[in-house]
């Protein structure tokens, strides 16, 4: 139950075997996706079970994937959208969280109640009216439509408020004595002192919006505006979508950035996504 002193390898073997078997099942789609992306179509049809290709077809598959649809454009769109969303979320949430955590003002309780109410509402609920609004404003199929609905993150406000509350008041008093304004305190004193929360929130936000399919599917029509998640659907709709090797290559290309990012910063990622579970 509890990791006691290091057990012998033999005693640990059942644990390792069970976990290893499970890990293999979890990794199976990644392994076969990678494998198929390296194989020529004929080989996939003949023997899809073996992982190692007899003849490498990687250049053709990946070349075709990149030629058929603007995959790199999708990745760029994804990066632009995620970073813009994150920047706006911080811009709105951090000052508000500071006001909720450290300042006394009438209306504070009411504002916090609204934030808690907001936590209960899944993002799909305001989607229809927002869509109608963007359509009326002629803003569909634009970065603005992809980014704006997520500018406010109630979860971000909540998370930062909890973190800011545990900062010592003396820190803020000292900054005031130094003649710092409240905005300066927010960005130059309070936020840097809550850095773990900020990085956890950032990873959570980026993962959530990189992977989001619903909203891009709603507002985007042209491939030029597609995010990676939507890009996969565009690719499948193309003729090349029937070419398993190229399709798997395209899937590898859009999956790779976030997986690489995750492997580089595992701890932060797990912390961010797990502590942010509240709004998934």
């Amino acid at each position: 139950m509890r990791p006691g002193p290091e057990r012998s390898l033999l005693a640990d073997l059942p644990r390792l075997l069970l976990l290893g078997f499970g890990a293999l099942l979890v990794l199976a789609p990644y392994l076969w996706m990678l494998s198929a992306s390296l194989k020529p179509g004929g080989e996939i049809f003949r023997d899809s079970l073996s992982l190692w290709p007899e003849r490498f077809h990687a250049l053709e598959n990946y070349g075709k994937a990149l030629r058929e649809v603007p995959l790199l454009r999708f990745l760029l769109n994804g990066a632009v959208v995620c970073l813009a969303i994150l920047a706006l979320q911080l811009l709105f949430a951090v000052p508000c969280a500071y006001a909720l955590a450290k300042l006394r003002w009438c209306g504070r309780e009411a504002m916090f109640a609204l934030v808690l109410a907001g936590l209960l509402i899944p993002a799909h609920v305001p989607a229809l009216p927002l869509y109608a609004g963007f359509a009326a404003a002629g803003l569909l199929d634009s970065y603005a439509a992809l980014v704006a609905p997520f500018a406010i993150s109630v979860f971000g406000i909540f998370m930062f408020r909890q973190a800011f509350r545990s900062l010592p008041d003396e820190l803020i008093q000292a900054a005031r004595m130094d003649g710092m304004g409240e905005l300066g305190i927010v960005w130059r004193v309070v936020l840097p002192n809550a850095w773990p929360t900020a990085t956890a929130f950032a990873t959570f936000s980026i993962v959530a919006h990189w992977n989001d399919l619903f909203w891009p599917l709603v507002v985007v029509q042209s491939p030029a505006m597609a995010t990676p998640a939507l890009g996969v659907l565009f690719f499948r709709a193309e003729e090349a979508g029937n070419d398993v090797g190229a399709l798997m290559a395209a899937s590898v290309i859009v999956t790779a950035p976030m997986v690489a990012f995750f492997l580089l910063a595992q701890r932060r990622f797990i912390q961010g996504v797990a502590t942010a579970g509240l709004k998934g």
Binding site: M1, E6, R7, R15, L16, L19, G22, V26, P29, Y30, W32, M33, A36, D47, S48, L49, F92, P95, C96, A99, L103, R104, W105, R108, L114, L120, I121, P122, H124, V125, P126, A127, L128, P129, A132, P149, A151, I152, V154, E182, L183, V207, W210, N211, L213, F214, L217, A229, V232, L233, V244, A250, S251, V252, M258, F262, V273, A274, G277, G280
Partner: protein, 310 residues
């Protein structure tokens, strides 16, 4: 002369809160105002509007809208697609949630039960959570392909006849559930691992002194009760994640064959954003919201009882 008083800085200290009070209130308002406005414009306002729209017959592009009361909700009760979606969504939650939680708890206990490869296993099991689900769904589609898919090829080695995993109405929902467990497992594992680490080691020692020698006894007497709050949290979060199932359906089955994999958000998407029946789609969204809120209410109820009677 305040300055002449002993402890001369007491006066400014006394005065300061009053001054700061006004300034502080103004600062509080100013700092919170942008977020408050955005909250109303982007989340609370549209959500209220959605509820109002669910009582109208508005269609995008139509000239006007009429208030039809519960008309949309009455239509829902006779809509085969919606009823199939509601049934399938609840079935999906009822399968994926307990399966992910049971397996996730097992994996978390095993991972935490030793020191070898702990970080590696945690990373592997967590990988699906950060992977682009649409792309991985595409990989699953290849794995589950009726003729060239490795799964059927593997089963073929044991003489099992190929199954049309995503194409037959009997198998499509179980297949999507399997992908759902794969997708949610790592999430549950990480949450349970955090809960396990928080259990003080002394409790296990104490339980052992009291005669809880077997691993199962220690699990029953220490781990499971202390994991209670974590479990409740995991149940709610996983249930809500499962309720939102959309990506795999939109990418792989579009609700088919014959509505066998239709789910709430997919019907809502189709009605609202491809047929532009906004009012009707709003009613489906309202049902979705009601289910989510009911789950959260249930969680707080159980939490309250725990606090009061435990």
């Amino acid at each position: 002369m305040p300055d002449a008083l002993p402890g001369g800085f007491a006066a400014p200290l006394l005065r300061q809160p009053a001054q700061a009070g006004l300034g502080e209130a103004a600062a509080g308002w100013l700092l919170a105002a942008p977020a408050a406005l955005a909250l109303f414009a982007l989340l609370l306002g549209p959500s209220l509007m959605l509820l109002a729209l669910s009582f109208t017959d508005w269609e995008l592009g139509a000239d006007g809208l009429r208030w039809i009361g519960l008309g949309n909700y009455a239509e829902l009760l006779e809509d085969d697609s919606f009823l199939a979606a509601l049934r399938n969504t609840l079935l999906y939650v009822a399968v994926v949630m307990p399966a992910s939680i049971g397996l996730g708890l097992g994996v978390a206990l095993l991972v935490e039960g030793g020191t070898r490869l702990r970080a590696a296993f945690r990373a592997i099991y967590f990988l699906p959570v950060v992977s682009l689900l649409v792309a991985m769904a595409t990989a699953w589609q290849f794995l589950l392909h009726p003729t060239i898919g490795p799964v059927n090829r593997l089963l073929g080695l044991f003489g099992i006849t190929p199954v049309n995993w995503l194409g037959s109405s009997d198998w499509v929902l179980p297949s999507l559930c399997a992908i759902g467990v794969w997708e949610n497992l790592g999430y549950v594992v990480v949450l349970f691992m955090a809960g396990l680490i928080a259990i003080p080691a002394e409790l296990y020692a104490a339980a052992e002194v009291d005669g809880a020698r077997s691993g199962w006894a220690r699990f029953r007497l220490v781990t499971w009760p202390l994991l209670g709050p974590t479990t409740l949290f995991v149940v709610t979060i996983t249930a809500i994640r499962c309720l939102r199932v959309f990506d795999t359906v939109a990418a792989l089955t579009k609700g088919g064959p014959n509505k066998a994999s239709e789910v709430l958000l997919h019907v809502m998407y189709k009605e609202g954003f491809t047929y532009f029946r906004i009012g009707y789609s709003a009613a489906i969204t309202a049902v979705f919201l009601a289910v989510v809120l009911a789950l959260m209410l249930l969680q707080t109820r159980i939490l309250d009882r725990r606090v009061h009677y435990a």
